[in-house]
């Protein structure tokens, strides 16, 4: 059932929680929603939408306000304790039809990518997957195209007929191409957004609000799957998307034991271990460490690429990092084309020196400035 265009307002963020803990991407999207809402007609709000069992979601309300949510909607029911496609899709679709947001955004997690298409299909509206950039303001968007892309912006003006639409930019064809998608005729506009690409706002605990409880109409008969168990992987959990610093190793390590050095490096700099696909395919390290188009997309403050040549699929997953440091023997490796700092050298000799000197940064700089 399509929603009337004239009735819609506000941006909803699906504030994904698992077992009473908010996913980082939920706060990133509150931050992005806040930014976008201020570019929309005055009074547009960013609203966090919590779904779950009451005891899990109630304690999270304050966190959403503190990170910038203007409103928080709570859809609580004991049947929502565990994520199920049927249960969550039903209560979220009902709430969207009742309250009529203009835009609904989800984190592109395994759960967000399961829920959003089901909801969009029920609402007969458009959904854009895995966005890495969202724009309302046309000037910002044109500036982005001109500075960051090869797009010909001739004829594109701030008064373009599409100026009020949400412009949803995403990679396609393995990162070889980018496309901006719009949803011109149906509402809400829906998108999933890659974790790690949007910025959280500073936490401000003075921001408070009263959450709005939405009546939930759900029975056990609505839910057709049964979650028997949730198993945490026995393997080390790698939270690449949350890491400020990532030390990644690739084929240039020469073997699985190279990751011992990468681990030591990561421990020293307070980072986590990442890898290229080549190292995963060679069986040197688990897939959960993989950065890139088929792995995780990351945007840390510093990305150390050690012995990684820089295949386009890898670059697609890390090139928006704030700072990229590449260490590689081959001076012609493509990774140097995106690196802010490049070291041509043997990583087995360079990295131990970085480890040895890391804690002396202040003294070294003072020494040099003399």
């Amino acid at each position: 059932m399509a929603i009337n265009f004239d009735d819609v307002k506000n941006i909803w963020v699906y504030a994904e929680q698992r077992h009473g803990k908010l996913m980082n991407v939920a706060l990133e999207l509150i931050g992005e929603g806040y930014r976008l809402s201020r570019e929309m007609p005055e009074g547009t709000k960013v609203c966090g939408v919590l779904i779950g069992a009451e005891e899990d979601v109630k304690p999270l309300e304050a966190e959403l306000f503190a990170y910038g949510a203007d409103e928080v909607y709570v859809l609580a029911d004991p049947l929502l304790k565990q994520y199920t496609t049927d249960g969550y899709a039903k209560v979220l679709t009902d709430a969207i039809e009742e309250i009529k947001p203009e835009i609904v955004i989800f984190g592109a997690t395994h759960i967000g990518r399961d829920l959003a298409p089901r909801v969009a299909a029920r609402l007969d509206t458009g959904l854009t997957a895995d966005c890495t950039r969202l724009d309302i303001d046309m000037n910002h968007y044109i500036n982005f195209l001109e500075t960051k892309t090869t797009c010909n912006t001739k004829g594109l003006t701030p008064e373009d007929p599409k100026k009020d639409l949400l412009k949803q930019t995403r990679p396609a064809f393995g990162g070889n191409l980018m496309a901006t998608i719009v949803t011109p005729r149906t509402r809400p506009t829906m998108s999933t957004v890659r974790p790690g690409v949007m910025k959280k706002r500073e936490k401000d605990t003075s921001l408070k609000g009263e959450a709005i409880n939405v009546k939930v109409n759900l029975t056990a008969a609505d839910i057709h799957t049964q979650v028997v168990d949730v198993v945490k992987a026995a393997k080390e959990i790698v939270s690449l998307t949350d890491a400020d610093i990532i030390c990644s190793g690739g084929r240039g390590l020469g073997g699985p034991e190279g990751f011992n050095l990468i681990k030591e490096f990561a421990d020293k700099v307070g980072g986590v271990v990442g890898s290229s696909r080549a190292a995963v395919d060679a069986g040197w390290i688990d897939h959960s460490h993989q950065v890139g188009q088929t792995g995780t997309t990351v945007k840390p403050k510093i990305y150390f690429a050690c012995g990684i040549s820089g295949a386009i699929q890898h670059l697609a997953g890390m090139q928006t990092s704030d700072c990229i440091v590449a260490i590689n023997k081959d001076p012609d490796a493509p990774i140097f084309e995106v690196a802010d700092y490049g070291i041509v050298g043997d990583l087995y000799k360079v990295i131990p020196q970085i480890i040895a000197e890391w804690d002396n940064a202040e003294d070294l700089l003072a020494e040099r400035s003399k």
Partner: protein, 264 residues
């Protein structure tokens, strides 16, 4: 017990081989091979394993695409699928995920009863992961995505659904739709008898009229999402090479630069 399984598949360009023209921001498709989408090969393999275990099981592969997608369906038949259907019509061209799922749903309804549908999680050209769940929604059946382990017993299916940090163990009854990831299995190769079957088999090609789909719900014009612009990212541009004669100098110069710019 024998099952009726439908597998949804897509023919995709091998994106590892694709290059773009940075001047025009368009794809250079010349000479790029078309392949059976990876996750869909895992979906077909799992269906074939069920067929191995339960003789009499039938597998029908359905796809939507241009006429040459028949080649991919022949590959599926040569791997062991029993039947294959191509939905191909100009009226379906330019469909987004919503419109695509309308067309495939209509095709599946025409095929009749089934026990379960297996699709790949996502296609490597679009990476959306939307068509599978949207078909399930339109058929009114439950879905489980990101399936990494699959067991079937009568009408009850037990799967592991991969999460970022583990998995959920989920039970679901037929009919339902599942989407496969590469951890599920290793797809088999084509085999001689299968290839013989593929060559002799008449692949059905259905147009919009054959599946009775409402033309207001398919194709470019009906699609709720439109491409506004497409382009390639500008290369970020190389930064500086760190200077230094020894590894120690290189390390110190790097650390000083990072500290100076307040990066650390």
């Amino acid at each position: 017990m024998a099952y009726k399984i439908i597998v949804c598949a897509k023919q995709v360009p091998n994106t590892n081989e694709i290059k773009t023209n940075p001047e025009t921001g368009t794809l250079i498709r010349d000479g790029v091979e078309s392949i059976l989408n990876h996750d869909d090969a895992n979906a077909l393999e799992e269906a074939l394993k069920v067929k191995d275990a339960y003789p009499g099981t039938t597998i029908t592969v359905i796809t939507m695409g241009p006429p040459q997608a028949v080649e991919m369906l022949q590959e599926c038949l040569a791997m062991g699928a029993d039947d294959a259907v191509l939905l191909s019509d100009r009226a379906l061209g330019g469909s987004d995920t919503w419109a695509t799922s309308n067309a495939i749903t209509a095709g599946i309804k025409k095929l009749g009863d089934f026990d379960f549908i297996f699709a790949g999680r996502q296609a490597i050209d679009g990476d959306t992961a939307q068509v599978g769940p949207q078909i399930a929604e339109k058929l009114g059946i439950p879905q489980v995505t990101y399936v990494q382990d699959f067991q079937i017993d009568g009408n009850e299916i037990t799967v592991q659904r991969a999460l970022e940090d583990g998995y959920e163990l989920i039970k679901v009854k037929t009919p339902c739709l599942l989407t496969a990831i590469k951890e599920l299995n290793t797809p088999r190769y084509m085999y001689i008898k299968g290839i013989y079957h593929a060559v002799k088999h008449d692949i059905k090609v259905w147009g919009a009229a054959d599946i009775g789909v409402d033309l207001e719900t398919v194709g470019l014009k009906a699609s709720p999402t439109n491409v506004f612009k497409s382009f390639t990212p500008k290369p970020k541009g190389a930064g500086q090479k760190v200077a230094g004669d020894t590894e120690k100098d290189l390390a110190i110069n790097l650390i000083c630069s990072l500290k100076e710019k307040n990066i650390i």
